[in-house]
C-alpha cells in the first residue's frame, strides 16, 4: 500500500562485537548510486544499521583541525569502535560530554576501512549515542544472544521443506546471506553461538545455572 512511497527504514541488526568486527565484507544489492550499502554478518545476515549497548571505556579526540572523536565501547565479547566527527554532531557532542565508564546505547551504520597492511577494520558511524542503565544493557545482551542464536540455527537452511524452528527466515527457506557468508568468509558460525552462550552465562541472572549442564553444553559438539 503506502509503503511503496518511501523506502523502508533499515532494521538495526543485533550482533556482538566479535561478530561485528569480523564482518569485513560489504556489498550493495543494486547498481543505483544511492542504493543502501550492507555489511555481511558472518552468521548470515545483511546489516545496514546496527544497535548495541555496552560500556564506554575510553574516548579520545583524534582530530587535527576539527573534532573527531573515537570511542571504545565494550560488550561481553569484545570492543566496538565508534568514530564521530562534524557530520555526526549529536554523537560527537555526546562523546565530548560523556565521562567513561558509562553504559551507552548506540544506533549507527557499519563502516569498513582497509589498512595499509591489507586488514579490514570495521567500525561504527553513530547516528546517536545515549546513556542508559544496566538493565537496558542486560536486555540488549539477552536480545543480541537470541538473534545470534537464531541466525546460527538458520545458517544451513537450503530451502528444503524443513523450516527452521524460529520461522523468521524468508518464506522460501533459502538463506541467501548465509550462503554469501559461507562463500566470503572462512569463519565457523558455531563460534558466534558459543560467544552468545558465554555472554548469557556471564550475566548475573545466569550464575545460578546448573554447572554440570553448562559444562556439558560447552563440550558438546553440535553436528
Amino acid at each position: 500500500m503506502s509503503s511503496n512511497d518511501t523506502p523502508m527504514r533499515e532494521v538495526a541488526r543485533r550482533a556482538f562485537a566479535t561478530e561485528f568486527n569480523d564482518a569485513s565484507h560489504t556489498f550493495k544489492e543494486s547498481d543505483d548510486e544511492r542504493a543502501p550499502a550492507y555489511q555481511l554478518l558472518p552468521t548470515g545476515e545483511k546489516a545496514n544499521r546496527v544497535f548495541f549497548v555496552g560500556t564506554l571505556t575510553e574516548k579520545e579526540d583524534i582530530g587535527d583541525d576539527n573534532e573527531y572523536w573515537r570511542g571504545r565501547i565494550v560488550d561481553p565479547t569484545g570492543t566496538f569502535f565508534v568514530y564521530a566527527g562534524q557530520y555526526q554532531p549529536e554523537a560527537a557532542s555526546a562523546l565530548r560530554e560523556l565521562e567513561p565508564p558509562a553504559y551507552v546505547a548506540v544506533v549507527g551504520k557499519p563502516r569498513t576501512y582497509e589498512t595499509d597492511d591489507g586488514n579490514v577494520n570495521v567500525s561504527v558511524r553513530p547516528e546517536s549515542i545515549t546513556v542508559v542503565d544496566a538493565a537496558t544493557r542486560d536486555r540488549w545482551v539477552v536480545e543480541t544472544a537470541e538473534r545470534t542464536i537464531e541466525r546460527v540455527a538458520a545458517f544451513d537452511d537450503e530451502g528444503s521443506e524443513a523450516q527452521d524452528a524460529s520461522g523468521s527466515r524468508s518464506s522460501s527457506g533459502y538463506n541467501e546471506y548465509a550462503r554469501m557468508a559461507a562463500d566470503r568468509y572462512d569463519l565457523d558460525p558455531q563460534q558466534y553461538l558459543d560467544h552468545a552462550v558465554e555472554a548469557l552465562q556471564s550475566m548475573e541472572g545466569a550464575k545460578s545455572a546448573d554447572a554440570d549442564e553448562t559444562a556439558e553444553t560447552e563440550s558438546e559438539p553440535t553436528p
Partner: protein
C-alpha cells in the same frame, strides 16, 4: 437466470423503496437496448436506471444498491463499496465543518472505523454507546485508511442487542532507535478540520498560518527483525517525558527556539526499550499505552534455546 434477468432483478430491487416496478418491465427496457440497439449491457443498465430515477424524481446518489453484503469493518479494504454494517457508536467527535452532521467512530467485533454523516443527508442522529444496523453506507479511502460515509439512502435501525466493539490495537516492542523530525513541540494548522503539522509556519494545504502548539513524538521501535513507526500524542508524550505543553512552551520561549524541547526529550528515550499498544493508522501505531521495559532480562530462556540447536 440470464445475465440480463439478473441485472433487471437488481435494478427493481434498487428502486423497491421508491417505485413499484415489475421486473418484466425492466427486462424489456434492457432487452430493447441490448438486443435491438446493440448497447453494451453496463451502458444499458445505466440508461435504464436513469429512466427510473427521473420517473421517481430522485438523484443518483439517493439510489440504494439493493441488498449489500453485511460486512465487518475489519473486512473493508476497497474504496466506494456499498455495505451494510451492524455497529456500536464508540465515539462522537466535534464536527469540524457545517456540512458534517456527525463524525466519530463506529465499531464491531473486528475493530473500529471513522464514520461521517453529512448535513444534507438529513439522517436521524446516532447516539454514543448505542448499537445500530446501518444499511447502504459507502466506504471511503484516504491515504490507505478507510472510513464509511452515511448518505440519504442509509437505513438506520437501532438494535436491541449490543454489538461488542473489538480491540484492533496492536502491541509492538523494541529499542527506540530514532526520534523523527516533527517531534517535540510542534505547531498545527488551526483551519477547521485541518490538523496538519506546520513546516516553517506553513501548512501544506492552507499556506502561512498562525499555528497552534501541540506535543507529539514520532519514533521508531526496532527489535532487530522489524521496525515499527509509532506516534505518541500530547497525553502520552507528557506521560513519557514528564514535560507538559506549558513547560514545553516555556522552554521554547526561554531559548527562542522550539527544537530545544525535543532535544531535551530524546536523551531519555533513545536506546531504551519500550512496549507500546494502540491502533494502527496508515503505517503508524498510535500509542494509547506504553511501558518502559526495565525489568531484568531473563537469559535462561535464551540459553535453553541455544541448547536446543
Amino acid at each position: 437466470m440470464s445475465e440480463l434477468e439478473t441485472h433487471a432483478a437488481e435494478i427493481a430491487e434498487q428502486f423497491s423503496d421508491q417505485l413499484e416496478i415489475p421486473q418484466e418491465d425492466v427486462e424489456e427496457r434492457l432487452y430493447t437496448l441490448v438486443e435491438e440497439y446493440r448497447v453494451p449491457l453496463e451502458e444499458a443498465r445505466r440508461s435504464v436506471v436513469s429512466h427510473y430515477l427521473e420517473e421517481a424524481g430522485m438523484e443518483r446518489d439517493e439510489l440504494g444498491h439493493g441488498d449489500n453484503e453485511e460486512t465487518l469493518l475489519g473486512d473493508i479494504g476497497e474504496d466506494e463499496q456499498w455495505v451494510d454494517l451492524r455497529v456500536t457508536v464508540a465515539d462522537l467527535w466535534e464536527p469540524g465543518h457545517d456540512s458534517i452532521a456527525q463524525v466519530g467512530l463506529v465499531g464491531d467485533e473486528s475493530g473500529t472505523m471513522k464514520f461521517v454523516a453529512f448535513d444534507t443527508s438529513d439522517l436521524p442522529k446516532l447516539e454514543e454507546g448505542k448499537s445500530y444496523a446501518l444499511s447502504n453506507v459507502v466506504t471511503d479511502e484516504y491515504e490507505g485508511s478507510f472510513s464509511v460515509k452515511l448518505n440519504k439512502t442509509t437505513g438506520i435501525t437501532e438494535l436491541d442487542e449490543v454489538i461488542e466493539v473489538g480491540d484492533d490495537a496492536v502491541t509492538v516492542e523494541g529499542a527506540l532507535v530514532d526520534v523523527q523530525s516533527g517531534s517535540g513541540l510542534i505547531k498545527r494548522c488551526p483551519e477547521e478540520d485541518c490538523t496538519r503539522v506546520l513546516q516553517n509556519g506553513r501548512c501544506s494545504e492552507h499556506g502561512q498560518v498562525e499555528g497552534e502548539f501541540d506535543l507529539r513524538i514520532k519514533a521508531v521501535l526496532d527489535d532487530g527483525m522489524d521496525v515499527h513507526e509509532v506516534i505518541f500524542d500530547k497525553e502520552t508524550t507528557e506521560e513519557l517525558t514528564g514535560i507538559d505543553l506549558d513547560e514545553a512552551k516555556q522552554m521554547a520561549q526561554d531559548a527562542l527556539d522550539t527544537t530545544v524541547v525535543v532535544e531535551e526529550m530524546i536523551g531519555d528515550l533513545l536506546g531504551q526499550y519500550f512496549r507500546v499498544t494502540g491502533p494502527v493508522f496508515s503505517r503508524f501505531v498510535l500509542v494509547d499505552e506504553f511501558e518502559r521495559l526495565s525489568e531484568p532480562a531473563d537469559p535462561e530462556a535464551v540459553l535453553i534455546k541455544a541448547r536446543s540447536i
